[in-house]
Symmetry: C2
Subunit: 268 residues, 2 copies
Amino acid sequence: MHHDPSCPIGIFDSGVGGLTVARAVMELLPDENIIYFGDTARVPYGVKSPETVARYAAQITRFLLERHVKLLIVACNTMAAVALPAITSLSPVPVLEVIDAGARSALAVTRSKRIGIIATPSTVASKAYERALSRLGGPDVHTVAKACPLFVPLVEEGWLDHPATRLVAVEYLAPLAAENLDTLILGCTHYPLLAPLLADVVGPGLRLQDSATAVARQAAAILNEQGLRNPGRQPRYDFHVTDMPHRFLEIGQRFLGQAMVNVHLETI
Amino acid sequence: MHHDPSCPIGIFDSGVGGLTVARAVMELLPDENIIYFGDTARVPYGVKSPETVARYAAQITRFLLERHVKLLIVACNTMAAVALPAITSLSPVPVLEVIDAGARSALAVTRSKRIGIIATPSTVASKAYERALSRLGGPDVHTVAKACPLFVPLVEEGWLDHPATRLVAVEYLAPLAAENLDTLILGCTHYPLLAPLLADVVGPGLRLQDSATAVARQAAAILNEQGLRNPGRQPRYDFHVTDMPHRFLEIGQRFLGQAMVNVHLETI
């Protein structure tokens, strides 16, 4: 059943942020069916302990596997950082995730091998990006990471180009300026929406890399390899959430780049 | 069992914010045993739907009732706003909550009966403060409410006097300036930590009111009336949380005004 090409791709996140990944997958693989799961009742994960995040990640993985996904994409940096073993140990299908994809994408563009990472406190504390960069890029990769806990609420407030957001960005990014970096990984799926402001704050010498397109490319490659591209047309998109919070559809649309249809409320 | 004066007072919140209420109760009622419950795994509630908040509130209420509390204090504006029926219907002991207390406290100081409310999006959308003020203060009370979703993450980041916080406050509070208010209710238990900055932003003509002291006074009155003041000394404080997130003890101490001891991790 998992090897039926018409089965959907499962994409999940703690909330709406992973919709930037869903959007990249829809653009690159327009014929694929997608089931998205956003744990909107328990978001944000970025400030929770690894044990709690792993427990929630396992619940979501089971939910998607029961719906016969052919591929799982962990579109949440926090879950990728601290809960990947809990996910892969349950999954008979391939698991892709944003940290590996983001690290590969940064290594493909860096010249100096001096790479910065901005992310939630949990992702930074996990050192998952540093481990991935060192594993994939060798011991001479130099990394600096900075937690930016206010970026997620600022993005969800829609203050993508607000003077307060700029002040916050200047303060968060100041410690990175002295590090002579040439690449900055946006290590949270919310951050691509701040990319124009962040590019302005860090200046032209620093290249911003997000993981959404990178993980979508990995998904295309693995489906091609395994002969699992969906032959059908008119794909179906389903969005499962654990809560329908205030302004959810408005915020979701901002991330997805299109209106959300087939939205289902789940208790897991 | 519930009528034993040595039983604890149960105080609960979605996270650490209610510790400002616990602190006020400890100061006013220094001999009382206290059980605090903070749903740190699922915080914040302020952006969740009323149905989800009510479900979580009922779980916490059951948890505290099983531990034989003699009084329940809902130290979370969001739960008080949208989940009070779910709590009172389960409770054989008196239930106090911050919205009623905050409204009474504002009405006691206002002269013009023109009262502003700042709170989370859910609390504002519920119109619970407006209902309480109108019920307690009559039809000539004029109210204006403004949701301030960035204040909670700014407080938890510890940016209590940061230029970015000031910019956010100026933007959020600007619509209130034209309303000729004389009283502003801080309708979220996180906001008292921003009181100095907010007082500076709104100027001396506007009096800030928080609910922590008000609800502590109500608790003292009800225990006195019912002969339920604890005769013992050396009270015990227990803190039950659903997650021990990053910097939890540090942030908790900032709210409580003292180090947290007897901290227990719960799964509910």
